[in-house]
Symmetry: C2
Subunit: 316 residues, 2 copies
């Protein structure tokens, strides 16, 4: 397995990215190779400083960088020797099995949608995030920002993505898929959510739990998968992050709240495309990069694009 | 000023409602009369137990009760001598200046919309809630559940409601009105929110701040008024309540988090109707009822329906 990591992406690149890769090494199997994509000289310098043997890594040297504030589309088409563009080329040509970056999120999405592309039958790919619901347990929330105007059939497909991810990456058996709503009754909610409920009720693709509300969060009983549009999911996730910041700013030390720290999770998978792409937070430090790499292994092993392709072709 | 309180509404009625009314007395002025609406015998029994002089109160005896789980429309039309129906009659005929209840929320909304009715020019009335942003400071979020499919012109009117409420009830000078979105840039978000941004930009009715995100919550810098549709606002508010429950369940004592306790606020005002209606949480205890009554005084003094009527007539 070849794990491609953009060492130029993120607020603290390349140092923390290379260091995070070094920290992940003890947890990887013999067959796992990390491919460091970016300025090779910089990578070698950081490895030397860390007393890490460069032989543990493969390198793909690039000469350009898409900066965090760059226009995603313009920079992606202009900076063809940037670590992000090269990373997507390597993924497309199967020279790497997964590509992860803490760099420009928009440029990562451009690569995911235009180079790797949506799988046949997928209306809209999505991005997912984990929210803690008890010690060591998480629920997968999707979408968290890609499609603010998701239609009922799109929400239905999110249910399938979520079920497959929860089963194969998070190892939850027969995960329950819930619809985020403003009441538990089927007749509650927006027009789109009411229509999505009708599609999901009695469906055969996943174990539909029914509606959950904002008040059901952080409880162990929360279903394993929460489906919502990218507008609501993004606001929900960011409010949870704001809550974590608040807890930290009040100097409260509590292991449960540490689960809100995104660094323990890794990155956000892009689901429904024909390849494995993980997007990490721009403020990722070593721990987040290490977990991004370990998560990559689970994602590759789950064979998500193949599983999705089989499911969505069946549907058509 | 006559403050009508439904003593039969809420999970702990009538005891905690009458007790809360007693607790509010020391904080009211001489000209403020509380009108206890419901079973007068029960009220007198509770007052006797509390050693409170019934002469402090007016009473309107009712013989029926709309239960918490009753169908709002059916019960409102059938139970004409219930405390909620009678309360709305008293408000409509100006025998009370404000009506508050911790009872069946749906029935309260039926009364607000069918007896008191929307003001001329108001597309959709709304309900608002307070979310803490620093010690002693709150932001008003609206809508928090009434209109899950609010259109851009409805969101615009929320901006006006919010500005007037924040200025006249919360006493914030020139409050900033923000649009809740998934990015700070104007071109971000759902179709509805992008259109609402265009309406709000350069408007003359309120001080438009621009977009805020979920990550901006709980910070002192958060604008005083946050506009969103009832779907997003409801989920946001309930997630904030879930945080508070989580903090309590972890036995964390911190004054900031106590501000999340709805009991300190009182009720949820219904804005855009031709009268003053406050809806309290079903699980309200004495403290919440006391604050509901104190909030009622501020709401009546603010003359919101008159102010809204003037503003919305101007607009037409």
């Amino acid at each position: 397995m070849r794990i491609g990591i953009d060492i130029m992406g993120g607020d603290f690149a390349p140092d923390v990215v290379v260091k995070g890769a070094v920290e992940s090494l003890p947890h990887l199997s013999a067959g796992h190779r990390i491919v460091l994509i970016g300025d090779k000289d910089a990578a070698l310098r950081i490895l030397a400083k860390e007393n890490a043997d460069p032989a543990h890594f493969d390198f793909v040297h690039t000469t350009e960088v898409i900066q965090m504030g760059d226009n995603p589309y313009k920079s992606f088409s202009k900076l063809s020797d940037s670590s992000i563009v090269v990373g997507f080329k390597l993924l497309k040509t199967k020279q790497i099995d997964v590509f992860g970056s803490a760099g420009n999120t928009g440029a990562m999405m451009v690569g995911a949608m235009t180079v790797i592309k949506a799988l046949k039958g997928v209306i809209r790919p999505t991005i997912a995030a984990l929210i803690p619901r008890s010690e060591g347990k998480y629920s997968l929330v999707l979408d968290v920002g890609l499609n603010p105007d998701a239609k009922p059939d799109v929400l239905y497909q999110y249910g399938i993505f979520g079920k497959v991810y929860a089963e194969n990456v998070l190892n939850y058996q027969n995960p329950r898929v819930a619809l985020l709503n403003i009441g538990s009754e089927p007749e509650k909610g927006s027009l789109v959510v009411k229509a999505a409920y009708e599609l999901m009720e009695n469906n055969k693709d996943f174990n539909f739990f029914g509606n959950v509300e904002g008040s059901d969060f952080f409880k162990e009983s929360l279903p394993e998968v929460i489906v919502t549009d990218g507008f609501v999911g993004n606001i929900l996730l960011k409010q949870a992050e704001a809550f974590y910041s608040l807890v930290k700013s009040r100097n409260i030390e509590d292991p449960f709240f540490e689960q809100f720290n995104f660094e323990h999770v890794g990155g956000t998978p892009v689901l429904g495309i024909d390849g494995n792409v993980l997007i990490a937070h721009g403020i990722s430090r070593e721990l987040a990069i290490k977990n991004l790499i370990l998560q990559s292994v689970n994602v590759v092993n789950a064979n998500l694009p193949e599983k999705f392709a089989a499911l969505f072709n069946e549907e058509k």
